[in-house]
């Protein structure tokens, strides 16, 4: 593999690893705070699925980088500006509705994205996608059920869901923007064309919103910059909590 492809692949993998890790870490904050026991366990399961996914991408990224760094080095010893996750993943949980709507938007996206990635010419990526898509289909079943239930629930649940949708909507365009690395890798059949997913994603989301007594907002604002390391004020706090142990006691193990 030539040098250019190598560095494109590294930043591509790192982006996907960061997406998975940050969402996994964020979702894990629900552990012991879920609305009831069963949902608490289910949320923690989803969080673990994402952390497992992050590990597969980090391990591969570390190998591609070839500097002897490990998955742990990449997760614990990079600073905020070096993280390239999409912004939607780092937003705080706020309330249950917000977490569910975020998860739902990302699940619809993940199912479409991973379906394409299963036919990547990179066999390792294709294998990761085959494993991850099973999890994501399950996540979607869960988040979709919640969207329907809370959208059609009480006035309070409907109001919270709608305000979560309004707040999150401007963070969804970033899901469909191609980076330079992705464009380079797309030409070799390695990466997925995000732009192609927008139509199907919007169609699915609109259908579910309609069934759930919820509306897609009119406003056209969007926030981007996660892939370039330009983050909200929330990521630093999340990282400090996630990284403090390894940074205080480097190499510490269970």
């Amino acid at each position: 593999m030539n040098k250019i492809t190598n560095s494109a692949l590294y930043s591509y993998l790192l982006g996907m690893a960061d997406d998975a890790l940050i969402l996994g870490q964020r979702t894990s904050e629900w552990c012991s705070r879920g609305p009831f026991l069963e949902e608490d366990i289910a949320l923690s399961n989803v969080a673990l699925d994402y952390i497992g996914r992050a590990r597969m991408f980090y391990q591969y990224a570390a190998e591609v980088e070839g500097l002897g760094r490990t998955e742990d080095d990449l997760a614990y010893f990079r600073d905020e500006r070096d993280f390239s996750n999409l912004l939607i993943n780092e937003l705080p949980n706020f309330d249950f509705a917000f977490s569910i709507v975020r998860q739902y938007f990302l699940d619809v996206h993940a199912c479409l994205y991973l379906a394409q990635l299963t036919s990547s010419t990179d066999q390792r990526l294709s294998a990761v996608a085959c494993k991850a898509i099973k999890e994501s289909r399950y996540h979607l079943k869960r988040s979709q059920t919640w969207v329907l239930q809370l959208g059609q629930g009480s006035d309070e649940s409907q109001r919270r869901m709608q305000s979560a949708i309004d707040e999150l909507w401007g963070y969804t365009p970033e899901l469909f923007i191609m980076t330079e690395s992705e464009t380079a890798l797309l030409a070799q059949g390695i990466a997925v064309n995000r732009e192609d997913l927008l139509q199907d994603w919007t169609k699915s989301v609109m259908a579910d919103m309609k069934n759930s007594n919820l509306q897609i907002p009119d406003q056209q604002w969007k926030v981007i910059g996660g892939r370039e390391g330009e983050h909200s004020e929330h990521l630093g706090h999340l990282l400090s909590q996630m990284q403090i142990l390894q940074r205080s006691y480097p190499g510490l193990t269970w």
Binding site: A42, Y138, Q149, S154
Partner: protein, 94 residues
């Protein structure tokens, strides 16, 4: 959301060809949701290949006070057990 949701009983089939067995119960708002929770609570360590969930209120159970009329009459009917036959030695797993 209402404070307490319905109780569901969970039955798991551990491997193909074996009966579903009761493994426990959980709370959920709908049967579909109960199924997903059952997946997370009872099959995390690959315990099952099939799940049934049944609303606990849909189960009609025999009652403790009916013990006498339900089970005592069977005690003096030993002929219902296949214990009066002499089994050939070849059949040693009955």
């Amino acid at each position: 959301m209402k404070q307490s949701n319905d109780l569901y009983e969970v039955f798991l089939r551990s491997i193909r060809g074996v009966d579903h067995r009761h493994v426990g119960s959980l709370h959920a708002d709908t049967a579909e949701q109960a199924l997903t929770y059952a997946r997370d609570v009872y099959t995390r360590r690959s315990e099952g290949v099939s799940i049934w969930v049944v609303k606990s209120t849909d189960i009609t159970a025999s009652q403790e006070q009916d013990m006498d009329s339900f089970y005592d009459p069977m005690d003096d009917k030993p002929y219902r057990h296949a214990s009066f036959y002499v089994l050939p030695d070849e059949i040693d797993n009955m």
